[in-house]
Amino acid sequence: MTAVMTGEWCCQGLPALANGLSRRAFSSVELTQYFLDRIERHNFSLNAFITVTPERALDQARAADQRLARGETGPLLGIPMAHKDIFCTQGVLTSCGSRMLSHFVAPYQATVVERLERAGAVMLGKTNMDEFAMGSSNETSYYGPVRNPWDRERVPGGSSGGSAAAVAAGLAVAATATDTGGSIRQPAALCGLTGLKPTYGRVSRYGMIAFASSLDQGGPLARSAEDAALLLQIMAGFDPRDSTSVDQPVPDYRAGFDQALTGLRLGLPEEFFGDGLDPRVAASIEVAVDELKRLGARICPLSLPNTGLAVPTYYVLAPAECSSNLARFDGVRFGHRCDQPADLLDLYRRSRSEGFGSEVKRRIMIGTYVLSTGYYDAYYLKAQRLRRLIAEDFRRAFESVDVILGPTSPTPAFRLGERTADPVTMYLSDIYTIAVNLAGVPALSMPVALADGLPVGLQMIGNYFDEARLLQVAHRLQQATDWHRQAPAGFGMGRGDLR
């Protein structure tokens, strides 16, 4: 293997970088400084970071270099990455994209961050996001919208838009993200990345600011399935501090990487290919499916009959949980507090009205309504019943197939402002991703085409705790194609548009 050149660091995957670090071809300090310089040069045009932490990053890089000098190795040791600003980072601003937390310096560390730092990962900074993860375009952030590196007039997707833009533009090797209704997968699709939402309960939610607790799940955003597997390997695992964390062994997520896909049963649900799907996306998925067939997979027809109910169901359950979770922001213990409150009610009302943006307030209002006296059965209970039907669709499907395939997003990246006027139009952006969260199954998005210069994502949905299979299928497909190696122009990511 030839030495990795400085100019190529932003295009390299974790194994190559870890190899260079362990051979001492370059140091973590050099690598970290290189990414800090790239952030300095390119972040203003993307707004991907809310906070950059150069001193902390270089301290961590020096510590990693000492561990490397002692002969320690590890896939993340000395690797610079970014964290979505929803993860609490002790001593560093953790804003969740909101004015409410715009002065909140977290007093403790999220388990995900703790695990990654223990593995030697270096934190470059905290990435921009939709306010409290409520959005599909990163336009609801108090810190302004993030721009898509592939076309700066377009959105990067949301809510993990900053993480996606940062990785896609080579400002970080990888990033953490969270997914409540598609917030890892949809930005991965729109920015040309591989993103994985694990099974509910696989990754600790401790220190991950809550939006909808029965749906939220953290996961990696990376350039390849292999990188995503290496990140999940560290992020996943039991955490006694999260009461919904699952106490189940973490398998080797790369164990199947060398195995062919012969005999793999792939399900294509008819409901994922109906009206509203951009024909360019449909055609791209078809090409990817053909490639998977060539690699040995078998296609099975499939129906997920309750798919159409996922968005309405979600917009009862997620806002209900959000209104309850966000009740903690009262202007008393932490977060924004209004000036000179007249009385306690005024303190609550004004602190919350000033601290929250319009989409968050809208969802709190919906949630409060569906949980209020007289409406609970008609909305909340009804939605919980539908949630079971949606989950049963998946259980039934996985009796006859191994992986379900479809588009991640109905369209490639849309223009900034295009869907902000009408919340319902924005909500329908997540039509293919939401059912997965309601059922709690894992799903991955990976790039499989460029449509008019914009990335198109393929979604793969797996059975409970079958992340390894999703990563295997994605990896095999990435070994046979090079869509994951494409990079946007204008960020010095190599010759032409190829990494």
Partner: protein, 95 residues
């Protein structure tokens, strides 16, 4: 579907959100539109379906009733908007 202004104001009060009359009108329209979407739930009869509250249907884990956290009052109050003598300060509640 448009929500009545009185309903919007009632929800805002329950949610402890202060809203202006202009905002109330905006909510009436937009929330109404969202509830049209939500009402699609009624296409399916779910009488005989058990509600699903949690994707994994696991029982809540229990732990021994032991103190595991140390007192970190000062650290947590350091980020509070207004504190005095270890107490969170709010406007006078009892006259």
């Amino acid at each position: 579907m448009i929500l009545e202004l009185a309903t919007v104001e009632k929800i805002a009060h329950l949610a402890r959100l202060g809203i202006t009359p202009a905002e109330a009108a905006d909510y009436a329209g937009k929330l109404g539109h969202i509830f049209e979407l939500v009402d699609q739930m009624n296409r399916v009869d779910t009488q005989s379906v058990e509600p699903l509250a949690h994707p994994l249907e696991m029982t809540q884990r229990l732990r021994p009733d032991q103190v595991t956290e140390s007192d970190q009052r000062d650290r947590f109050q350091a980020i509070a908007p207004l504190c005095e003598a270890g107490l969170y300060l709010v406007p006078r509640v009892i006259e």
